[in-house]
Every structure is written in structure tokens, then in C-alpha cells.
Amino acid sequence: MQITVKLVGPLRIGRFKEQVCEYTDGTSIQAIVDGFEFRDHLLRIILINGVHARVDARLQDGDTLSLLPVFDGG
């Protein structure tokens, strides 16, 4: 399946901003995330097609997966 992956903020560093990626059907979000080897605690928000999702949600061919870091104000 083809998934458009968007990385936001520091998650982009050394990676990419947006890329269409090919995964085998049934690949979990967790597996995709693990593949990026983000530093602990940095990934916090997962969106599928702009809607908040959990790491155990299922992806469909053509989905856009956005991965965002956590943020705090001050």
C-alpha cells in the first residue's frame, strides 16, 4: 500500500518533510514509527488523514500518516 508520510518539526531532522512510501499491506503504524527510530518521548501526535489516531489504528492504501512531536508552551 502507498502511504503519504508527513513528518513535522524536529522529527524531520535527518529524514524528510513529506514522502510517499510503499509498505506491505497490513503494516502497522507502530512498525512504521519504529522504522524511523525517533528519540524517546519525541513523537506524540499521530494523524491519519488529519484525524487523531492511535498507534494501533489500521492504515489503508492512499492514507496520509502525519507524525508530530509533542509540544508545550511557555
Binding site: 518539526g9 524517546d40 501526535i45 509533542v70
Partner: protein, 615 residues
């Protein structure tokens, strides 16, 4: 503090704090060791000051009966990381009800002043009345205990916050400082004066890197009292790290509490600046007075777009391993760091940049430094100016003041300077008064008279119940964007249970980044209290004290004349929904009405008996 018990709950009165009450009109002072009334008193900060403010009936902020209370928290000056907070409390010149009564308010800041104050032996200063002449107050550690002296300060008049601190450092090289700027000196025209707190970095580098207690005009109240600065002179008294504190400090740095705030070089998120990137993914970065347009304009102030032209250094408060400051320097031709320009924290950067239609880092940095040097709260200043810019956009035939509009840096800069100098009371007195005077209140982005932070109100109905600033006293600002919660049950629970815990940090003396997600009712804090002070108290009991302190603040708002209808968001949010924000709509009139009903149903039964009866 004198701690004569291990149980600060049932024997709170065996914990004594030292207070100096200074009558500024007569110079008389009283030093007292006062027994704590309850755990809120023990924890300190606003947990204590609001109990004292509640004893007074104050009808206007600028009156002799309104005290300025300067205190610390239980862990200020301790070895626990971030333990540097100072709290300034009083009835606010800025925040007030529609009945015209001022709200009780506190403002907190880091820097090293709080620790130095604690190390003098004094836990609290209460300033009564006002001085006839400009003064500064020296708090000095002596072998006989803390000594408090009033000193003439005519020579400091008109100086910037930084210049005042530099001047005082000449006389007190081993001290730290709290100072107001020209804005606070012009308290009649400027209600948003901040208090600058000196940092080690500032005193060492001579660069204006203060931290600020900005919210609610505590600097203006200090100016009214004619106090231009406070000097805390003491020896450093850091204890060796105990195993418990060492573990807690390690947890703060590595355990997730603050890891995301850490510098990029350490694998963190790069300070609060990272909020730009996240919120832009939802088109929820405030732009042109909180009206995001669904475009890429906010990206111009993304770190990745600023970094090529400037040197960005991650720096920290005294002994803090979080290192959340992003200090921006010009870049020399050889690539090294040049002149220090400004700190890029999310709130000032957005509200004095993108939200004014300014997308240049140099321009935003210029305004941030002006606000800091004049000693003005960047949030209230930025939001009041953005209101003015909308007004001028809507009324090109009768523009106000200099006719500034979005993106007009030169005119906006002129307004900032004039406001700091007390020449623009229209701005200096805040967006509530300005919008009421103009009869166009719908797009004034304040809640209960205090300008909101740089989170779209569409993402944070919790603003309405914040008691001392939208994001620092109600931690719901990420409930929708970060946690994806759009159902009413989650919002009721967030406001009435989990997210109010954020105010615990405004009691105990620690910065919110110590553990912003969990608050202070944690085993980590329990261990630190036991290790540092020998106090035994459970996490649940600490959380209960934080809740009581929050509810007392809410009760105090109601006593100062707020109606439930005033616990609301700016009207534009529901009247003219922004179609560009890519998040579920949770601020419709219907949602807010239901939320209000359920929140008050939860809070109201708990408010009885929290305040003393006063005539």
C-alpha cells in the same frame, strides 16, 4: 522556613515561614515567623498569597490597601532542578470583572532571584501602601537573620529592566535582582508591567537575558508602590544532591517530564518554539489577531527557516538541565555568534510576530527585546496591539493612534515604544478596556480581562476557567491538538480534574517543565520533599491541596464580581467560526453552554467555605 514536624498536613502550624511586612509610607517593618494554616501555606506561592489576599476587600488595584506579596515556594532554592521560582501576587490592575473590581492575580518567574531571596532567610515580603519617592529594597543575609532596607532609587528611574539590573550589579556584585522597566514606572497608563528577574547568564554576559513574571500587571503594581527593584544578597546555599533528588533531577532531564523541551542537539523538541510546527499542521497558529488563514505564512518563523540566518543557542536557567531557552544571535561572516538579539519562546515570538502579521525573525526579535526592556508582558502587549490592528483594518476611514495595520513593523514598533513609555494608555490598559471603549468587544482576545496566550481559543475552551493566565493556570491548551479530545466528557474532566493541577507549580517553587504533564502530586515530588526537608506527605494529599488552592482562586474571582457569563471565550470564536482550523469544532455556543453547565456543577459545591467572611 522553620520546619518542626515531619507532617505538614496535620501539623501545618509547626511549619513556620518568615515574612517581612514593610510599610512603604512610614518605612516601618515587621519580621515574623508565621505558622502555616494548611498545606497550601506550606507549599507557598499563590497557595499562601491568595489566602492573604482573600482577607482584604479591594475595589481598585491602585490603592494603599492592595498589597504586593513577593514570595517563594517550598522548593525554591533547593537542589531540586528548576527550584528557582519567585511569585508576585496582588489585586491586578489589568485583570478585572465587568463590575469593575480587580481580580486577585499572581505571576511567576525563574531566574536566580527567588533562590537568592530564599537564601537570605526570608520566605515572603509584603509591601503595604506606597512610597512617596522611588526606592529599591535590599534584602540581605546577615548573621542575625534577614535584613530589609529601603534605598533611594532616583538614579534608576527611566532605565530599562536590564539597565536597572546592570546598574545595581555594580553595587551588589554577589546579588540577584527583580526590576521593573519604564512600563511599570508609568503604571497609570500601563497596566501590563512585568517584573524582570536576573539570570546568571545575564549577569555574566551583560546581555539582557532576564526571565519575567509578566502576567497580570504585577510590575505595574510594583511601580504604583514606587518600588523600582528588589535586591537579594546572600550566599548560595545549595545542599549536596541526595540520591532522591539526584534521581528526580535525572528523571526531569531524561524521563519524559521535560525531555521534549530539551535542545534539538540532545534529541529534544527544541524548547517551546516547536509548538509552531505542531500547531501549523492544524492551521492553528495565531495569525493576524487569532485568525489563521489556512496558509503557510506562520512557517516563516519556523526554526528551520530562521536557523540559516541566525545563531541559535540553547541556554538555561541556573543549574537547570532542561535548557529550554532558545537565544537568538546574529551570525558573523565566519559563522560564529554575533550580537544577542532575543529569546524565542513560543508565546512572545508568536504574539509579537505572526499574530501581528510580522514574519521576519529580525522584526519579531526587535519587538520581543523592546517588550522585555520596557518591562511589559509580551502576551498582553501583543494581543492588545493585534486588536488595534484589526480595528484599523476594519475602519480605514477612522484609524486609531498611528493607523498601524498588520505587517507594518515601523508603526507597530512605534506603538510598542510609546506604550512602554506610558504614552499609549489605550494599549497599556489592555484589550478589555480598549475594546469596551470602542464598543467592539467581539474580537478582543482576552478572557476575564487577561489576554489569552498563543493558542487559538478554538482549541482551548479551558481558557474560561483559567485563574491566572490562559495556558499557565489551566493546562487544557493541548487537550484537543495534542490529545485529540473533542468530546464533552473529556473536556469536563480535563478542566475540573486533571488540567487544573498545573497550578501546583505556582505554589511549590518549581518550573512547570519539571513535570508539566503530571503536576506536583507525584512520587517524584514526594521523594524530594522527604529528602530535602524531611516532610512526609502523600502525592494524593499534595494534589488535594493544589485543587483547594485552585478552587480558592475561582471563588475569589466570583467574589470580585465575575458572573458565570464572563467565564467565556471571545465572542468571535463562536459567532464567526474560522473555517481554516483543521480540528473538530468544540467552541460552538451549544458546546460551550453545555460545558459551562457541567463544569460549574462540578466546581460549585466545592467552593463553599473556601473564603473568609469580610465586611
Amino acid at each position: 522556613m522553620k520546619i518542626l514536624t515531619t507532617d505538614p498536613v496535620t501539623e501545618a502550624d509547626k511549619v513556620l515561614y518568615q515574612r517581612c511586612t514593610l510599610d512603604l509610607a512610614t518605612g516601618e517593618q515587621r519580621l515574623q515567623d508565621l505558622p502555616c494554616r494548611n498545606l497550601e501555606d506550606v507549599l507557598g506561592g499563590f497557595g499562601r498569597s491568595f489566602q492573604d489576599l482573600a482577607l482584604r476587600k479591594i475595589k481598585t488595584a491602585y490603592c494603599d490597601e492592595n498589597p504586593l506579596i513577593v514570595n517563594t515556594g517550598l522548593l525554591t532554592g533547593s537542589s531540586v532542578m528548576t527550584g528557582m521560582r519567585t511569585y508576585f501576587s496582588g489585586y491586578s490592575p489589568l485583570k478585572g470583572s465587568k463590575r469593575g473590581l480587580p481580580a486577585a492575580m499572581w505571576s511567576a518567574g525563574s531566574g536566580k532571584f527567588g533562590a537568592k531571596l530564599k537564601w537570605t532567610g526570608l520566605d515572603e515580603l509584603v509591601f503595604e501602601g506606597r512610597s512617596a519617592k522611588p526606592i529599591y529594597v535590599l534584602i540581605k543575609e546577615t548573621s542575625d537573620g534577614p535584613l530589609v532596607e529601603i534605598k533611594p532609587a532616583e538614579h534608576l528611574l527611566g532605565l530599562s529592566t536590564h539597565a536597572k539590573i546592570m546598574a545595581l550589579q555594580q553595587d551588589y556584585p554577589d546579588a540577584h535582582f527583580a526590576a521593573i522597566g519604564p512600563a511599570g514606572e508609568n503604571w497609570q497608563q500601563n497596566y501590563m508591567g512585568a517584573v524582570a528577574l536576573s539570570t546568571e547568564n545575564q549577569l555574566r554576559s551583560q546581555e539582557d537575558k532576564c526571565r519575567f513574571a509578566g502576567r497580570g500587571g504585577m510590575g505595574s503594581l510594583m511601580g504604583y508602590k514606587n518600588i523600582l527593584a528588589l535586591v537579594a544578597q546572600s550566599n548560595d546555599k545549595l545542599k549536596p544532591l541526595s540520591p532522591a533528588v539526584k534521581q528526580a533531577n535525572l528523571n526531569v532531564i531524561k524521563g519524559g517530564g521535560s525531555a521534549r523541551i530539551q535542545p534539538l542537539s540532545r534529541g529534544g523538541g527544541g524548547g517551546t518554539w516547536a509548538a509552531y510546527d505542531v500547531l501549523q499542521a492544524f492551521h492553528a497558529v495565531p495569525l493576524n489577531n487569532f485568525r489563521p488563514q489556512g496558509n503557510a505564512l506562520p512557517e516563516k518563523l519556523f526554526r528551520e527557516n530562521v536557523e540559516p540566518e541566525f545563531e541559535i543557542k540553547s541556554e538555561a536557567c541556573f543549574r537547570c538541565g532542561i535548557t529550554c531557552h532558545n537565544n537568538i544571535y546574529s551570525k558573523n561572516p565566519d559563522g560564529s555568534a554575533g550580537k544577542f538579539l532575543a529569546k524565542f519562546d513560543y508565546e512572545p515570538l508568536n504574539l509579537l510576530g505572526t499574530n501581528l502579521g510580522l514574519h521576519s525573525a529580525v522584526e519579531a526579535a526587535g519587538l520581543i527585546q523592546l517588550a522585555d526592556n520596557y518591562g511589559m508582558d509580551a502576551i498582553s502587549l501583543g494581543v492588545t496591539i493585534s486588536y488595534l490592528l484589526v480595528f484599523n483594518q476594519r475602519h480605514p476611514d477612522r484609524p486609531l493612534l498611528n493607523g498601524a495595520t498588520f505587517g507594518d513593523y515601523a508603526k507597530i514598533r512605534e506603538l510598542v515604544i510609546q506604550t512602554g513609555e506610558g504614552k499609549r494608555p489605550e494599549i497599556g490598559q489592555g484589550s478589555m478596556r480598549l475594546s469596551q471603549g470602542l464598543g467592539e468587544t467581539d474580537y478582543a482576545y482576552h478572557v476575564k480581562g487577561l489576554e489569552i496566550a498563543a493558542y487559538q481559543p478554538e482549541t482551548n475552551p479551558g481558557y474560561a476557567w483559567a485563574i491566572a493566565g490562559g495556558h499557565m493556570s489551566m493546562g487544557t491548551y493541548g487537550l484537543l491538538t495534542r490529545e485529540g479530545k473533542s468530546d464533552i466528557d473529556s473536556w469536563v474532566k480535563g478542566i475540573t480534574e486533571e488540567k487544573l493541577n498545573i497550578v501546583g507549580f505556582d505554589m511549590i517553587g518549581l518550573c512547570k517543565f519539571f513535570d508539566i504533564a503530571k503536576g506536583i502530586g507525584t512520587q517524584m515530588v514526594v521523594s524530594c520533599l522527604k529528602s530535602e526537608l524531611g516532610l512526609e506527605v502523600s502525592a494524593e494529599t499534595i494534589s488535594a491541596a493544589v485543587r483547594t488552592a485552585f478552587l480558592r482562586g475561582l471563588a475569589l474571582e466570583l467574589r470580585q464580581g465575575y458572573t458565570k457569563a464572563e467565564f467565556c471565550l471571545p465572542a468571535e470564536v463562536s459567532q464567526n467560526p474560522n473555517p481554516h482550523i483543521q480540528l473538530p469544532s468544540i467552541t460552538t455556543a451549544e458546546f460551550m453552554a453545555e460545558l459551562s453547565k457541567r463544569v460549574w456543577n462540578r466546581f460549585e459545591p466545592e467552593l463553599a467555605g473556601l473564603l473568609p467572611e469580610i465586611d
